[in-house]
């Protein structure tokens, strides 16, 4: 990376006060979509559509050229055919535009001509110092500041603490739906495209220093600037902002000709794993694990005490045993119930037919009714050996009958500091007759209680959080003892 790029200010890209949309139009996914989203979500800065063939675009005055715009431009979003991109960029440079997002595709990823054009863009970036995102990017969205520079953003976003940087534009757009479905609030999302100038490492570094981002999620196809990536990882660890990585491309070992043992034992993906481990980066294997982990981290990142196990109640003995097996294989701590707790739990008349009072405690159907959950959970809440509480439900969440269960759990969670999670086998009923937002699991998720389909997906995410928390504490206490 050029020395001049080190620590440069990316605010004009992520928090522009004035935006030119070059190629804005009334139709087309990007030409219409980006401007429409800016208007729909009430972007507070100034917007200048640029389109020589129109007087107005979506009700705003249209400018024939970038150079015709009066006043300074922080950011230009370029959505013109590739043959015009260089000319537009030259105008942006002359206009002293600080940052450019090139949505247009057909460059390095396409053909020989595209590669040549991309080289020219790279030269322009170096010569002018303009920040360039793309080309071939799906854009970015600053959710907190209402700056949606992407074509699709439905339904309306939830502002939050998760920042998402992706090397795949399509995945960024698609995953927005997954984040939204799980009520995961976002701060910023950005797709890096062909990384002619700004690359993923620089994005992650920005997110690590961004005041609104507390959890960083990233999709990696391959890193270009590993030094900046390591700096970003150090900064994120220092600030206690976990990085959750989904990385593809387990490349073949680069050590074919190795003559030492070390040489043959250090393949490329093994090195990525080592770097992730060294910097406390959480690696997940697939989309579902990415979403589950982001969900748990965004809710509970600051809520994991030093010593602490998980206390679980289960509606089903079978589900409880299954969950115990999973906890053991993940090396999660399930403290045994104290005699005092046992006395309390077994003295409840309502639990006459109680199953086995271990952890997970089999409290059966009676113990997971709305009226009973507060009483059954109380001994766990009072005992400091339990840092987290889990409720395992095994019943079809048939419409209204289970809404009191959901509201009771929400009330309990508001009265305790301890994180509460729910695994609900049968949480979603296709023909329940109620709209999706009225389903009990949705009500829970809207109120900060994560709900999972399976114990394994839930506990894997929790394991990631505990591992991250413990790693960072070990690292910080070592640092403190050295200083």
């Amino acid at each position: 990376m050029d020395k001049s790029k080190k620590g440069r200010n990316l605010e004009p890209l992520f928090r522009p006060k004035t935006i030119a949309i070059v190629g804005a139009s009334e139709s087309g996914l990007y030409p219409a979509g980006i401007l429409r989203n800016l208007l729909r979500y009430k972007y507070e800065g100034k917007i200048f559509p640029v389109n020589p063939r129109r007087e107005t675009v979506q009700g705003l005055k249209s400018y024939p050229k970038v150079l015709d715009i009066e006043g300074d431009i922080d950011l230009a979003v370029v959505i013109v055919p590739r043959g015009f991109v260089i000319d537009v960029l030259s105008q942006c440079a002359e206009k002293k535009v600080k940052a450019v997002i090139i949505i247009t595709a057909g460059f390095g990823e396409a053909d020989e001509y595209g590669k040549q054009l991309q080289e020219k863009i790279a030269d322009l970036a170096r010569e002018t110092g303009m920040i360039i995102c793309g080309p071939n990017t799906a854009g970015l969205a600053n959710i907190i500041d209402k700056i949606p520079l992407i074509a699709r953003l439905d339904p309306a976003p939830i502002p939050g603490k998760v920042g998402f940087a992706s090397q795949s534009g399509a995945l960024m757009m698609a995953l927005y739906g997954n984040f939204r479905d799980r009520e995961i609030g976002l701060s910023i999302m950005v797709s890096t495209g062909n990384q002619v100038d700004m690359d993923l490492s620089e994005c992650i570094k920005y997110l690590a220093s961004d005041k609104d981002t507390k959890v960083i999620v990233t999709f990696i196809e391959g890193l270009r600037d590993t030094n900046t990536f390591l700096e970003a990882a150090d900064l994120a660890l220092e600030k206690g902002k976990p990085i959750i990585v989904l990385k593809v491309g387990k490349t073949k070992s680069g050590a074919e000709a190795a003559v030492t043992h070390t040489g043959s034992l250090t393949g490329s993906d093994a090195v990525y794993n080592a770097v992730f481990r060294q910097k406390g980066i959480v690696r997940v294997d697939d989309i579902d694990e990415l979403i589950d982990t982001a969900k748990i981290f965004s809710l509970f990142i600051d809520k994991i005490p030093d010593e602490g196990g998980i206390g679980i109640i289960s509606q089903s003995g079978g589900l409880g045993s299954l969950t115990a097996d999973i906890c053991e294989s993940l090396n999660l701590n399930l403290p045994q119930l104290s005699s005092e707790m046992l006395k309390k739990l077994t003295s409840m008349d309502e639990l006459l037919s109680f199953g086995s009072m271990r952890n997970p405690a089999d409290v059966r159907g009676e113990g997971t009714r709305a009226a009973m959950i507060p009483r059954v959970l109380e001994p766990f809440i009072k005992d400091n050996r339990f840092a987290m509480l889990g409720i395992l439900l095994a019943r079809p969440a048939v419409g209204n009958e289970d809404i009191p269960t959901a509201t009771t759990i929400i009330e309990i969670s508001r009265a305790t500091e301890k994180p509460i999670f729910v695994v609900w086998i049968g949480r979603k009923i296709p023909d329940s007759g109620s709209s999706i937002d009225e389903q009990p699991y949705r009500i829970l998720e809207k109120n900060g209680i994560p709900v999972f389909f399976t114990s394994k997906s839930c506990l894997k995410a929790i394991k990631h959080l505990i591992d991250y928390t413990m790693f960072r504490r070990r690292q910080q206490s070592m640092k403190a003892s050295v200083e």
Binding site: A255, T266, S268, R277, V482
Partner: protein
């Protein structure tokens, strides 16, 4: 991978210079080019000693039978020296022989491997594992990218599945983890200083003695870039 003409395997003499420059703990010993020289070295470090034929072309000393351990006297040394030199020639007529390493005999102890390789993206990578089959067959190793902090070094040791062997088991004393951390940090410093000059390196084996008694490098292998100013001939 760089073309082979740019790669060079360091001789043991060269290795000793690099290792001593960075203050690595190396088993006492020196290279002899004659039986008389070997006797002088052995007298200096005291019997029992170990004899090894050092050659960049003979990697597996046991396979070539060019290693004699627990050599207790001058007469055993003379016999051993002749034997292993002959075996070396039989093993590989073309092999260039740097000489015979006469080295102190260390107690049979826990052995670890500490290494360095280069990743095309991240540059130098430090490796740690237990010696013998643990690293080679079970691939039970940990990796980190330098510069290493002390915390990184500690985590590397704890990360391998076999780390309990270092903590003492079946009545054996705890091993000197501090000494391993010290070697790891020296490797890290060397990797940072010499940037991309070292293409591959093994310190193998490193004998780790009981707590407080340190660790000693018994053998090492360096593949360096000839293009680097640090290792120009």
């Amino acid at each position: 991978m760089q073309a082979s003409k740019d790669r060079r395997i360091l001789s043991y003499k060269e290795i000793l210079i690099v290792l001593s420059k960075y203050g690595f703990p190396v088993a006492r010993g020196d290279i002899a080019s004659s039986i008389r020289g070997a006797i002088e070295i052995a007298d200096r470090i005291c019997y029992p000693i170990v004899l090894k034929v050092m050659s960049p072309h003979i990697v597996h000393k046991t396979d070539a039978d060019v290693l004699r351990v627990n050599v207790k006297s001058e007469s055993e040394l003379v016999e051993g020296y002749k034997g292993i030199m002959e075996n070396a020639k039989n093993y590989n007529q073309e092999a260039h022989i740097d000489g015979v390493l006469v080295q102190e005999m260390l107690p049979n102890d826990v052995e670890v491997i500490i290494g360095l390789s280069r990743d095309p993206q991240f540059g130098p990578v430090v490796l740690f594992g237990l010696g013998g089959i643990f690293a080679e067959v079970l691939k039970d190793v940990s990796l980190r990218v330098p510069p290493l902090t002390r915390f990184d070094a500690e985590e590397m040791i704890k990360e391998i599945r076999g780390h309990k062997i270092l903590e003492g088991f079946r009545g054996k004393p705890k091993r000197d983890s501090e000494a391993i951390i010290d070697v790891l940090l020296r490797v890290s410093k060397m990797a940072v200083d010499l940037k991309n000059s070292i293409l591959e390196m093994d310190l193998n084996p490193v004998v780790v003695q009981p707590e407080g008694k340190g660790a000693k490098i018994v053998d090492a292998r360096f593949v360096v870039s000839n293009l680097s100013e640090h290792f120009k001939r």
